[in-house]
Amino acid sequence: MRIKVCYFARLREKLGISDEIIDLPDNCGNISSVRAVLQKRDEIWQQAFASDQSVLSALNHEMVTSDHQLEAGDELAFFPPVTGG
C-alpha cells in the first residue's frame, strides 16, 4: 500500500527531503514499522529515528503515538518536538 510521508524542521534538513510517497507491504502495520523500514536506509536515517522522543508522528494531521495502524492513502508526518508560541 502507498502512503505519503512528510518531514519537518531539523528532521527535514537532516534527511534532505520534505516529503515522499512510499510503498509499504499491505500488512506493514503501524507507525513503528514504518520507522523501522526508514531506519534501514542508511546511517543518517538510522540515527534520525533512533530516539522515540526526538521524533513525533502525526497521522492525517493529528498527533498520534507510534502504535497507530496505517491505511493506504494516509499522510504520515515525522517531526521534532514542536517549539512554536
Binding site: E62, A77, P80, T83, G84, G85
Partner: protein, 150 residues
C-alpha cells in the same frame, strides 16, 4: 477564530474584537509572545517559523474547541505568525473573552501551554554565526501535562 499569517497583528484591536463579540463579556485575558533579543548570550538576528500547513489550523482549532468545552468562555482568538521575525516582533496572540475572569485566565493559559507542545510549529534561531533549531523545553511539556490531570 484562528489566524496564521506573516504580517504583524494589532493586539488592542484583537482585544476589542473579542469584547465586542457579546454584550455580557466583561473580561478579556490575553497572552502575547515576543521574539527575544538574545538567546542565551548571543544576540539574535531573527527567528524563522516553520509549520505544517495542512495540520496547523486544525491543531489550533482543536485546542480552542477544547478550551471552550472545559471552561465557561465566550470566544477565543489565536493568531500565530509564520516566516521570518526579528527581535521584539510579536509571534503569537491568545485572547479569551468571558463573563468570568478566572475561567478566562485558565482557558488562556491552557491554550498557550497546549499550543507550545501540540501545534506543529518549529523555531529556528538565526545568528550572525549561523542558524540553530530551537530545542523543545522540558518545562513546556510539564506545563502542558499539568492540564491533563485537571
Amino acid at each position: 477564530m484562528i489566524r496564521l499569517q506573516m504580517e504583524d497583528f494589532d493586539t488592542g484591536a484583537e482585544i476589542n474584537a473579542l469584547h465586542s463579540m457579546g454584550s455580557h463579556i466583561g473580561a478579556v485575558v490575553s497572552f502575547v509572545g515576543f521574539v527575544r533579543e538574545f538567546s542565551d548570550e548571543s544576540r539574535l538576528d531573527a527567528i524563522e517559523l516553520e509549520h505544517y500547513p495542512q495540520m496547523t489550523q486544525k491543531s489550533l482549532e482543536r485546542i480552542a474547541t477544547e478550551a471552550k468545552s472545559r471552561w465557561n468562555i465566550e470566544r477565543v482568538i489565536i493568531i500565530h505568525r509564520i516566516g521570518r521575525l526579528t527581535p521584539d516582533e510579536q509571534i503569537v496572540f491568545v485572547g479569551v473573552a468571558s463573563s468570568h475572569r478566572s475561567e478566562a485566565f485558565s482557558a488562556c493559559e491552557f491554550v498557550i501551554d497546549t499550543l507550545k507542545t501540540q501545534a506543529p510549529f518549529w523555531k529556528k534561531e538565526c545568528f550572525s554565526t549561523g542558524d540553530q533549531w530551537v530545542d523543545a523545553k522540558l518545562s513546556d511539556t510539564s506545563k502542558s501535562d499539568r492540564w491533563k490531570s485537571n
